[in-house]
Assembly symmetry: C2
Homo-oligomer: 305 residues x 2
Amino acid sequence: MMKDKDIDLVVIGSVALDSVKTPFGKSDYSLGGAASYACVAASMFSRPGMVGIVGSDFPKEHIDFFKTKGIDLEGLVNADGKTFHWGGYYEYDMNQAHTTNTELNVFADFKPHLTKNYKKTKFLFLANILPSLQLNALKQMDGSPFVAMDTMNLWIENNKEEVLENMKHIDLVLINDAEARQLCETPNLILAAKSILKLGPKAVIIKKGEHGAMLFTDGVYFSAPAYPLETVRDPTGAGDSFAGGIMGYLAKTKDTSIENIKRAIIYGSAIASFNAEGFGLQNLKKITIDDIEKRYKEFENLVDF
Amino acid sequence: MMKDKDIDLVVIGSVALDSVKTPFGKSDYSLGGAASYACVAASMFSRPGMVGIVGSDFPKEHIDFFKTKGIDLEGLVNADGKTFHWGGYYEYDMNQAHTTNTELNVFADFKPHLTKNYKKTKFLFLANILPSLQLNALKQMDGSPFVAMDTMNLWIENNKEEVLENMKHIDLVLINDAEARQLCETPNLILAAKSILKLGPKAVIIKKGEHGAMLFTDGVYFSAPAYPLETVRDPTGAGDSFAGGIMGYLAKTKDTSIENIKRAIIYGSAIASFNAEGFGLQNLKKITIDDIEKRYKEFENLVDF
């Protein structure tokens, strides 16, 4: 019997207040953070539980918004102090984020704590946080959940051994093209993907922004197009909403076959494209499952020959 | 009745002797040039006629090779002097060609001259030469052939008005991502493609190297993946063999519908991928139509979800 509190997926990562500027607008201390984007995206398909930390300044309206999306907040710690703050901007070419300031605040002392209800979950997404915290969370899980992990250039540079160690314990890695080249020390993404597979994960997704994504597993390669966006208003959270969409779909369908991961990638791409078209979480607050299904069908046409 | 001399496609461009160095090898005064790569690729499907110029130093073995591929050489001028020479190298990241020297030699005075037999051809590929020569050749054609055009950053920088003028007279533009951004002064490739369509051509193909290619026409967008190459030995001629493969396939099938252009792009991608795996024209000398058909089927699997 499914209880009210039962969740499909645990997401661990940052919850932040972002100040972002792009050529199309700006935001001040708006809802952000990898776990926020990933959970909102995942909530399109299933019921995620969020593991993270916020400060006493975190607006109640964001909590209420999470709740309207069916996001479980048992794992969200409310601490004394200020919420993690990220400030950054994008120039005309929006492929590159420029960070102006990062204030960790309460996030500096964050230690993930998984409750009994969370530990038994069958899907776990380790969004981009310190690799040692990712591993700590993973080890708290009961049984053998399907685990996906994101990472970033900072950890590859400063905590490479930990990133490599984590690879042994997970099923799916999400990594962007520059990070894959950096981690594997090769300009060739196909070779990079094969190197990563040798580290342990069953599948690798290389995210290429405007060029789409690639999925690699043993003997299978899948190329997913990007949705042709004429206007990218704010790329913040693109990778997190992509990953959240993938994990939300997998958790809903309870099918981690390669064929289903391909479908999940298209759903994730659809959600990420809506996200980039709007500022911050603006668009993800508005879209419905019908919008997503419609865009999924458009993806089918994009590659049909 | 088809005579021995009847051709399906006219290709206008450079025939060169290239000296190329990559991390995987080097060549000295080997067969090169846009028209060479494009004609050899097109010859996989149909009978191209080559319009270009070589000097008295041009080895007879290359002439013999063109003939074995069924390439008609009525339009290839043999002039006194030295053949066009290009010298360049690629570093570990092979996306960027570095030119060390360009010696135009007999190519400096090249004026395309189309014979009666060539003028009545239904397909014309204007490979990358001075835009005014492209237009000159185009105007010599009888009737309304299907015309495709390539260009390069040098002409966009120095002869932009001529490049824009040419766009009014052609059916299909092939342009790489950086050139499209440069020509249309936008980082967004979708907007760039739409701007180019407004200049006149019916279709635009944006070449993205390792990220594949995109086809845009009025209301249709198609995303073609790149073949996952673990080893790129020499990217020289990738764009030319891609274009030659496309035009050779269109000329063979005599079908310029969008659906057939999509198929042609996949055939062009297959040939270009073989080309990049070998040094210079090495691989295009070896592969058969069966190899190409087999790789075409692999492309179907790459995007299937």
